[in-house]
């Protein structure tokens, strides 16, 4: 099932700004390899789920997949053939706001070549350019 919050304070949110660069959540923290987004924007809950399914099917119970983003923001839309006005539409989708550099998924417990292939499958499901990254040793 697609991700969405269990409880929210407000059902609908304003569009907000798309912030350009990530200052946190941009390092491999849980697994050994990760996939990093190179553009800023929204990733929908369906896209996140599609990526997870693509990776878990490829890995066949090997290793562990970590999802580093969560769709906190609701996106509303008006039904087709409706006149303008009469208030804001109903929530249709949930999205995660990502910035350039945000780590989307991480994989641990598998060899690099397997992780590369799994993350390439995720990358194909993402709406933005992504790249493969390895864990960096902290000083």
């Amino acid at each position: 099932m697609a991700l969405m919050p269990k409880r929210v304070k407000f059902r609908k949110s304003q569009r907000g700004k798309i912030r350009p660069r990530a200052t946190r959540g941009n390092t491999v923290s849980y697994g050994d390899f990760g996939i990093q987004v190179l553009e800023a924007g929204w990733v929908t809950a369906r896209q996140i789920e599609a990526g997870r399914i693509a990776a878990t099917h490829f890995l066949q119970r090997q290793g562990k997949v970590y999802i580093r983003i969560f769709p906190h923001k609701s996106i509303t839309s008006k039904p087709l053939e409706t006149r303008m006005g009469k208030g804001k539409g109903e929530p249709e989708a949930w999205v995660a706001c990502v910035r350039a550099g945000t780590m989307l998924y991480e994989i641990g417990g598998v060899e690099e070549n397997v992780a590369r292939q799994a993350l390439a499958r995720i990358s194909a499901k993402m709406p933005y350019r992504c790249r493969f990254v390895k864990r960096r040793h902290e000083m």
Partner: protein, 213 residues
């Protein structure tokens, strides 16, 4: 342990504007502190510093004001993509001083438990050790070939080089081998059937209708 000599110059122009210009011209800002002396902002060549960091070096030898001395790399700041280092924190140290540093743990081999569908998870990627400046290990290698399902590798099980003592608690888990729990995938309902999250502070529809009665 690899370390090369890098030319450094004292930095007089401080602030983000000058630092940005400096980075564009292939230089990197850094700061030297420690031993109760005043902090000293410096400039080093970015390319040389990157090469040094690629070799997992903990010590840097700088030629500053015509004098060569060793410094411990305390922290490195990277850009938003985590590719290019943008700032270095260097600490003054004596060559015979014992220092506390984080050293990477490398797991070697394939665990026995992986044949029984076990998955090895590395929980600790580096440990804090104390050793002489000249004897900082590049990494600590641990063999996991004998690791079975439900086995743990603890910090106290690691074989450290001579003169190196672990500061991280010995009971901390470095790696574990477990069979992952199977999560049953719930089939998604038809479009439009998706449940909406509960709104905090608003009574649920059933409760609201009960109140009306």
């Amino acid at each position: 342990m690899e370390s090369g000599t890098i030319n450094a110059e004292p930095r007089t122009q401080l602030g983000s504007k000058h630092t940005r210009r400096m980075r564009k011209s292939g230089k990197m800002p850094a700061i030297i502190y420690g031993h109760g002396e005043k902090p000293e902002p410096i400039t080093i060549d970015a390319h040389e510093a990157e090469n040094l960091l690629d070799h997992h070096s903990h010590v840097i030898e700088l030629s500053l004001n015509g004098k060569n001395s060793n410094f411990l790399i305390k922290s490195v700041q990277y850009d938003y993509l985590g590719t290019n280092p943008i700032h270095l924190d260097l600490m003054r140290v004596d060559i015979n001083e014992r220092v506390q540093v984080n050293v990477e743990i490398e797991l070697r081999g394939t665990a026995k438990g992986t044949e029984e569908e076990g998955v090895v998870s590395q929980l600790l990627n580096s440990i804090e050790v104390e050793c002489l400046l000249t004897k900082i290990p590049e990494s600590i290698r641990a063999s996991i070939a004998d690791m079975d399902v439900n086995d743990d590798l603890l910090v106290k099980d690691l074989i450290l080089p001579e003169g190196v003592t672990a500061i991280t608690e010995g009971d901390e888990q470095v790696a574990i081998c477990r069979i992952p729990s199977v999560v049953e995938e719930v089939e998604e309902g038809e479009e439009g059937e998706e449940a909406m999250p509960e709104v905090i502070g608003k009574p649920k529809e059933d409760e609201a209708s009960d109140d009306d009665k």
